[in-house]
């Protein structure tokens, strides 16, 4: 007890000290400038006390370091203050970060709520998607969040991004017209495509090609089942399709084949011709998808344990060459191999069916659903904070958020094959890989990634590389899955289509929606499993009953709500 009181007292004292320091430094900052130099406007420092602690343009942001406290969700060791990035930020911006990291989103949420009730909210709050837009709206209304748009002049990089990608501003702006939280935007097509792979060797062993329609896929899977596709001498140990059954890449890809573009298999919103919102899970397309899946399941083409299988087991199936067709981040990731392992696979997507004669590839929303960062409305240093956040919207900032700075944590290396520079992280001794170095020593991953426009990455070079380069073995060995995806998207007739946009809800809509959404998606997921795995259930016969249940749970109300939000979205 005494320890804490002491601690509290200490904190109060140090706060006062910092305050006093900041004020006195602001006052005497002008005298120091001649020696320290560039970018500072002595007049400004001398004049108004309040605005003197920061520079309006250029870096550092603060000539005399200020401390910004921050809480965030993080990967790796949550002790973040000894990361290279933190000391580099202090050097470059004159901002000393004092970070408390939490290992899980739930823990973060709890601590955030407690910090709000006790008034201990730090300057910067980085939920990294752990809070929703609805919650953000509530916190803002309660006065916890700084309205960033009021500091637009200090955020030129963010302005530029919003000009280039108007959807960012559209989504980030709350219904009162202010921007409180920052979302992240990813425009990298490699990261927005569903990743489903088929094993080339298996295809060769059964003498077939990469499927482009659901019927072809069915034929291929039958061949995988009936023949010794993995060539180990046992024709019965193959799992033709290791279906994840958990709202994942393979589901999205197959739903798209039936004309349903979505990234939420249990809640498919569709756009009607006249701007009406439709519900995919109640459509004939969805019914056809269910029948198709049921056929695969009953004929033993799908892993029969699909509803219990875990990520580990599915990875193990890839590693042991027991499956030929699956969704995954990349085959090499599942198999625990080197990236060149990917060369043995092809990307599968854009399948056609009688419901969809176009080779459609649904693209994930560019915007993150949740909030990545917001600023405490009560912060001592709002200007410095917004300028600091704005930095990460710049090209250099985007690269820095992902790989750090040149000469500090990475170097630009010229890539001979792709003919361009790629920011390549160091891998110092004592680290098993550059990712290990990045996540555990170099960077604070998450809080500063607001945009991913592929600056400094090989994705940028891959997307502009010639077909010839893309077909070369060297590129395939070096960049694996991304080349598979890239080549897949370059096939004739592939059409990339955006999925239903993310909508912004009002507070009332939001709280009502949570209940209805949860009730409805739980039912749809359960019913999907029932339709597919229960041999006694006839989809046609139970369809009307299913639709009636959806209505009873509250689908009409939910759609009304979505429609209202969608109308606002279009009206803007």
């Amino acid at each position: 007890m005494r320890a804490l009181k002491k601690g509290n007292a200490k904190r109060v004292w140090s706060l006062l000290l910092v305050l006093a320091l900041a004020l006195s430094l602001a006052a005497c900052g002008g005298e120091k400038t001649p020696s320290e130099g560039d970018g500072n406007d002595p007049g400004g420092s001398e004049g108004g006390e309040g605005s003197a602690y920061y520079n309006e343009t250029g870096y550092p942001i603060c000539d005399e370091p200020i401390t910004l406290t921050m809480m965030c969700v993080t990967t790796g060791n949550p002790d973040l203050n000894d990361r290279i990035m933190v000391s580099e930020i202090e050097k470059r911006f004159g901002i000393k970060l004092d970070i408390t990291g939490y290992a899980s989103a739930e823990e973060f949420q709890t601590q955030l709520n407690l910090a709000m009730t006790t008034g201990d909210l730090p300057d910067l709050i980085a939920p990294c998607n752990a809070i929703t837009m609805g919650q953000m709206r509530e916190y803002a209304e309660d006065g916890y969040a700084l309205a960033l748009d009021e500091y637009a002049d200090l955020m030129p990089n963010m302005q530029a991004l919003m000009e280039e990608y108007p959807e960012y501003e559209k989504y980030a702006t709350a219904d009162d017209g202010h921007i409180y939280g920052l979302n992240s935007i990813e425009v990298n097509e490699f990261g927005r495509v569903d990743r489903v792979y088929i094993n080339n060797q298996w295809l060769e062993n059964v003498g077939m090609e990469v499927p482009t329609s659901v019927d072809e896929l069915y034929e291929v899977l039958c061949a995988f089942r009936d023949q010794d596709a993995n060539g180990n001498g046992d024709p019965n140990d193959e799992i033709p399709f290791d279906y994840a059954a958990s709202n994942y890449y393979d589901d999205y890809m197959l739903l798209a084949a039936f004309g349903l573009n979505t990234k939420d298999a249990n809640y498919i919103l569709t756009e009607g011709e006249d701007g009406t919102v439709g519900f995919g899970n109640a459509s004939e397309n969805y019914k056809a998808y269910l029948k198709y899946m049921k056929k695969l399941y009953e004929e033993g083409l799908i892993n029969r344990e699909c509803y219990v299988t875990t990520e580990d087991q599915r990875n193990e199936n890839v590693a042991k060459d027991r499956t030929g067709f699956f969704g995954a981040a990349a085959p090499f990731v599942s198999a625990g191999q080197d990236i060149s392992y990917d060369a043995g696979f092809s990307w599968v997507g854009g399948l056609t069916s009688e419901y969809n004669d176009q080779r459609t590839v649904p693209m994930t929303n560019t915007l993150s659903e949740g909030i990545v960062m917001f600023v405490n409305a009560e912060t001592e240093y709002p200007e410095a904070a917004v300028r600091f956040l704005d930095y990460w919207f710049s090209e250099e900032g985007e690269v820095a958020a992902q790989r750090g700075w040149e000469g500090v944590t990475m170097d630009y290396e010229y890539n001979e094959i792709l003919k361009g520079d790629v920011a390549t992280l160091y891998c110092p001794e004592g680290y098993e890989s550059s990712e290990d170095y990045k996540l555990n020593k170099a960077l604070v991953v998450g809080p500063f990634s607001y945009c991913s426009r592929t600056y400094g990455t090989h994705y940028r070079l891959l997307s502009t590389a010639s077909d010839e380069v893309m077909q070369s073995e060297e590129v395939l060995d070096a960049y694996g899955w991304a080349v598979l995806v890239g080549n897949g998207l370059r096939q004739d007739g592939i059409v990339e289509e955006e999925v239903f946009p993310r909508l912004v809800y009002t507070e009332d809509e939001s709280s009502r929606r949570v209940s209805l959404y949860n009730d409805l998606t739980t039912y749809i997921a359960a019913q999907r499993a029932e339709f597919i795995t229960n041999p006694d259930v006839d989809i046609d016969a139970s369809w009307d009953e299913y639709l009636a249940q959806l209505d009873q749970i509250g689908l009409p109300e939910l759609l009304e709500l979505e429609q209202a939000a969608y109308d606002r979205y279009n009206g803007n």
């Binding site: 990967t75 290992a103 407690l114 006790t118 993150s368």
Partner: protein
């Protein structure tokens, strides 16, 4: 006649004991298996475990999991903290619970039912996280070890168990006799009740102690900024969370595939660590149990006292 009857019962006993041996053996095997499984899994390749190839003994033997755990220096700090919380915390629990249970077991207590109600009410109703946190904050107990020690100082469940034990196993005559010898309530409690209640004290110590040993939620909330005071379980949880992260990162996006690959490798280790962690945290609990057991076996010589 008499011998025949004896014989008959003797046989009945035999049948009964036969059945009970089988039942006990079954329980033994069924409960031993998971422990062997955990132990073996902690030495096995995680792939072999998740694919079901490892059934009883380690497969693709490896010490990687333990190396990973031991590399984590804070494990030892966590151990020290947990032992501290367990010993001191349990002592506080007993010091608070036993006297209260004794008081509630006495019929002389005026307002006994009302007090019991006060306690039982808290079994079901509480203010929830935020008011409790504000309350602790108002006492200056947030981010202190003290709070972890005194939080849950009395478990009503244990209080009732102890009270029941006191009132059902210690005969009223004994209190009566003590009273006649001039003992007051304090003496009655310390000299008569406590010595005769070793089994329930041990059970309570075990319940509370294991509670402290496994506790992580309170520390997670109330010691968020005092890493050096974290109990073992919180560090172990942190190791495990790194393993679970790969999957969620994969679904949420935001990390590059190479990073996901790295996280999956970590997840692999975490899968192994998952079992090693149990071994690490359970061994001390298993080690003390046989020592506690003797207090159950001893029994209470109530009969002798009565005479």
């Amino acid at each position: 006649m008499k011998t025949r009857k004896r014989n008959f019962w003797f046989n009945g006993d035999k049948v009964f004991m036969g059945i009970s041996y089988v039942a006990l053996a079954l329980v033994f095997v069924l409960t031993l298996y998971p422990m062997i499984f955990v132990l073996s899994a902690s030495f096995s390749d995680p792939g072999a475990v998740s694919s079901g190839e490892m059934v009883l003994f380690p497969k693709e033997f490896t010490l990687e999991g333990y190396r990973y755990i031991l590399k984590y220096n804070e494990i030892w700090l966590g151990y020290a903290n947990t032992i501290f919380y367990t010993l001191v915390g349990t002592f506080i629990n007993l010091a608070v619970t036993l006297p209260a249970a004794y008081a509630l077991s006495r019929k002389e207590l005026v307002g006994r039912n009302l007090i019991l109600f006060l306690f039982m009410f808290t079994m079901y109703f509480s203010g929830g996280l935020i008011p409790s946190y504000l309350n602790a904050n108002s006492f200056g107990l947030v981010n202190t070890r003290t709070f972890v020690l005194i939080n849950g100082a009395v478990s009503v469940y244990n209080l009732i168990v102890a009270r029941t034990f006191f009132s059902s196993t210690i005969p009223e005559q004994l209190h009566e006799a003590a009273r006649i010898d001039g003992a007051d309530m304090f003496k009655d409690f310390f000299k008569i009740v406590l010595p005769l209640s070793k089994p329930v004290i041990v059970v309570l110590a075990l319940y509370y102690g294991v509670g402290h040993w496994n506790e992580y939620f309170t520390s997670m909330i109330y010691l968020a900024k005092r890493r050096e005071a974290w109990p073992l379980q919180l560090f172990l949880k942190e190791i495990l969370i790194q393993g679970q992260f790969a999957e969620s990162a994969l679904m949420a996006g935001g990390l590059s595939t190479e990073e996901i690959a790295y996280l999956f490798k970590q997840a692999d280790t975490a899968n192994m660590v998952k079992y090693g962690v149990i071994v690490v945290s359970v061994v001390p609990m298993l080690a003390i149990y046989p020592w506690l057991q003797k207090y159950f076996a001893q029994g209470v010589m109530l009969g002798a006292v009565k005479e």
